[in-house]
């Protein structure tokens, strides 16, 4: 039986209490292939056409050695609203933790084709990332709802059940206190808040710049598409210059294709990840606010007790519980922030290196095209 430093016993029946898992947090910090015991993948999107609606499902495959799972392998099909349900459940049941973001729920019909290959693939990657982030989390990955999501044949039945379960959870889950105002945020959390504000601002700017670049590239592409064929027309007028001019025309055509691929890649791989992180920041700021609420409640109750001037030697249980909540929340949040910072660094490292790579590949394709026509241009008619 574990207890907090001040002697109060910990309510281990509550899944929200994670101080019992503090140890596990430290151990699982370094997840490499050998220590990992849970693998989740999202793939194989399929379109379902029903009378009422058309929608996409994704295959969610799980491989695990964890005792919490009955089988070592699972394969289920889930649709976006199932992922959305999971996220909401996680937010409810683990309010002290940072829950990863989902790709945007609503897409403007007519502007985006919800069933196009590109859109579905972009969404699949985001959903895969979402589950992998949960999998990597030492607390969230043990969440019961997550388990059911990965394993249940009929998720809808469980969803309906869930309403009843929730009411059984008890007070300890309900952190929404409301009405309490925090005097001042502790420095370290204020710093996190400021960081997140600037961070999401900068990401927003980068998003706009990236979009602008894509727009300029597409306008450049329009002109290139007119430019190349003119060389071909000219080639039709000439005799000796016919092949060289055709060569230049074809070359420009190849560059057009390469540019198109670059813009597509940026749209499909770069922008969505940026936007995910902006969503992430927003949800994190909300968690910070919830934390403020919990602290505010605690401080208010403490003050109320102090004002009563009772000579009770012991602090009332509900104030103790508040203190407990605050300390758990702070601990969870700090640990999650550290983890988040590390993942963020790796994610952005990969994202930006990927962006650089795509540009390198674009230039390499163009380079190959132009280098290949040099011999054609230098070719002397006698050698033909």
């Amino acid at each position: 039986d574990l207890s907090l430093p001040n002697g109060t016993p910990v309510d281990t029946s509550s899944p929200a209490s994670s101080s019992s898992l503090l140890n596990r947090l430290q151990l699982d910090d370094d997840l490499d292939g050998e220590t990992r015991d849970l693998f989740v993948t999202v793939d194989d999107p399929k379109k379902h056409v029903c009378t009422m609606e058309t929608y996409i499902t994704y295959r969610v495959t799980t491989k695990t050695t964890r005792a919490e799972f009955d089988l070592p392998e699972y394969s289920v099909r889930r649709r976006y609203q199932d992922f959305d349900w999971l996220r909401n459940k996680l937010e409810e049941s683990q309010p002290t933790h940072l829950i990863p973001p989902l790709p945007e729920k609503f897409v403007v019909k007519g502007v985006v084709d919800r069933f196009s290959e590109e859109f579905v693939e972009t969404r699949r990657k985001a959903l895969d990332k979402f589950l992998k982030r949960i999998t990597d989390h030492p607390v969230l990955s043990f969440n019961e709802h997550f388990n059911v999501f990965l394993t249940a044949k009929d998720l809808n039945a469980y969803k309906k059940q869930g309403m009843a379960l929730l009411s059984k959870m008890g007070e300890s889950v309900k952190y929404v206190t409301g009405g309490y105002k925090l005097r001042s945020r502790p420095l370290e959390f204020a710093a996190i808040g400021e960081y997140l504000d600037t961070f999401s601002l900068k990401l927003g700017t980068i998003d706009r710049i990236a979009q602008r670049i894509i727009k300029e590239q597409l306008e450049y592409l329009v002109e290139l598409r007119e430019y190349g064929p003119v060389y071909s027309t000219w080639g039709g007028l000439e005799v000796e210059l016919s092949e060289p001019l055709e060569g230049v025309s074809a070359c420009i055509g190849n560059c057009c294709t390469a540019l198109e691929e670059l813009s597509e890649d940026m749209t499909e791989d770069f922008l969505p990840v940026l936007r995910e992180y902006i969503l992430y920041s927003e949800s994190m700021k909300n968690v910070l606010k919830k934390r403020d609420q919990v602290q505010a409640e605690y401080e208010a109750k403490l003050e109320a007790v102090a004002l009563k001037k009772e000579d009770r030697p012991k602090v009332p249980t509900d104030v103790e519980k508040c203190q407990d909540r605050v300390e758990c929340f702070n601990a969870d949040l700090k640990a999650d922030m550290e983890r988040w910072q590390n993942n963020k660094r790796q994610d952005f490292r990969q994202l930006l290196m990927g962006m650089a790579d795509k540009n390198i590949q674009y230039y390499e394709k163009c380079l190959t095209a132009w280098e290949s026509i040099i011999p054609l241009l230098q070719d002397k008619p006698e050698t033909k």
């Binding site: 290139l224 210059l241 060289p244 390198i360 040099i374 230098q378």
Partner: protein, 402 residues
């Protein structure tokens, strides 16, 4: 080619200078003067360099020279001058004639023009051209004294001939179509290229914004900060690199422009042929009609309708003496006409022969030059790609250190 001037003399247009002066209306004007430097090329082995001669000329004098050459050598495809006004500009380029970049490109174009003339087997021997390069004062008067303006064919006359000529040499007709199409396609190419340059400029410059935002972002990061900051610097380098790239591309555009204007020179030779051919056809037609008239008078039969014939029918025929006199005049005219026709024929054939020889020379020059231009364009693109790879590789390395 050993005789051509370019081999014996080094010619450069080395400087351009803004000048103010008074024009023919005694109004103050600003113009640019170009310094032409010439130096005799010594044979190899002799260490000494001949002294450099130089003189200043303005664009209008170049124009006068070219007009003179075009009129005096109508069978030659005369090299064109660089454009008078900036055309096919993309937004960053100035359309201002006084703009230093434009002046610089014009300087190069004028030098190119002089070198082209100096390497032409026929044109390089012209005395007026030589004086243009070497004689500072009185050159304008010298040109005007040649009276070349009188030899120039009127535009109207040429247009008339184009429409009415019956049997031009087929090769010239084809060449005329070719030069029209060449003008059209190169114009189109230059227009689109300018738009392409504009757009490419935009793409590169927007990347500069990454530099600033990465810098701002790096300020709030601990481990990621350095990598972001240095990557941002590379984005700035990338954005700045487009200026030089597009400046170099202007040289390619200038090479294309030269051949755009060359198409006009080709057209001029075709026009001259049409004019001469039309002249010939008219002379032959005139001769035939005179011969016919003569025959009619001699035999008394009227084969063709003529007002004279009608009036003489109405008002009585001429006396035999009158008729004899007429026949004599006609016979003289016919003889003159036949001689003229012979010489015109000869002229025409000579023209066709020498013009075609120069056209063949031009074709080879064009194929060679345009191939070179395309190669240099490809080389520019390759260089641009390599720079792009370099910058992004550097940026990637910075990101990897995040």
């Amino acid at each position: 080619m050993e005789d051509c001037l370019a081999k014996k003399m080094e010619i450069t247009v080395s400087e351009a200078e803004k000048r103010t002066g008074r024009n023919a209306m005694n109004m103050q004007e600003t113009y640019t003067a170009y310094l032409i430097e010439t130096r005799a090329i010594e044979s190899q082995g002799e260490g000494q360099c001949a002294p450099m001669d130089s003189l200043w000329r303005r664009y209008s004098e170049f124009e006068l020279l070219r007009n003179y050459l075009s009129v005096t050598y109508p069978h030659i495809v005369v090299p064109p001058l660089p454009e008078k006004r900036a055309d096919f500009v993309w937004h960053k380029l100035s359309a201002d004639n006084m703009d230093p970049d434009f002046v610089e490109r014009r300087r190069i174009g004028l030098e190119n023009f002089l070198l082209r003339v100096a390497s032409h087997p026929v044109l390089c021997q012209d005395k007026i051209f030589y004086s243009f390069l070497t004689q500072e004062g009185g050159w304008k008067e010298m040109v005007n004294e040649t009276g070349f303006q009188l030899k120039a064919d009127s535009r109207l006359k040429a247009l008339n001939a184009t429409f009415r000529v019956k049997n031009p040499d087929k090769r010239f007709t084809e060449l005329k179509h070719y030069s029209d199409e060449l003008q059209s396609v190169i114009s189109h190419l230059l227009r689109v290229r300018a738009r392409v340059a504009d757009r490419l400029y935009g793409v590169y410059k927007v990347h500069g914004n990454y530099g600033r935002v990465f810098s701002e972002w790096s300020a709030i990061e601990k481990e990621m900060g350095d990598g972001l900051q240095s990557a941002g610097h590379h984005m700035d380098v990338y954005a700045a690199s487009i200026d030089d790239i597009l400046e170099e591309e202007e040289h390619y555009a200038d090479q294309l422009k030269e051949y755009l204007f060359y198409a006009e020179a080709l057209r001029a030779v075709c026009r001259k042929h049409e004019l001469m051919q039309y002249d010939l056809e008219m002379a032959a037609q005139d001769l035939t009609s005179k011969k016919q008239q003569c025959e009619e008078l001699a035999t008394g039969t009227v084969k063709t309708f003529s007002l004279k014939g009608m009036t003489s029918k109405l008002f009585g025929q001429e006396t035999p003496e009158q008729r004899e006199a007429k026949i004599k005049v006609l016979e003289e005219q016919i003889q003159e006409g036949e001689e003229q026709l012979k010489s015109k024929n000869l002229e025409g054939r000579d023209f066709v022969k020498s013009a075609w020889a120069d056209i063949e020379r031009f074709k080879e020059q064009k194929n060679h030059d345009l191939k070179e231009a395309l190669i240099s364009y490809a080389v520019m693109q390759i260089s641009m790609c390599k720079k792009g790879i370099q910058v992004w590789t550097n940026a990637k390395e910075c990101f990897s250190k995040m």
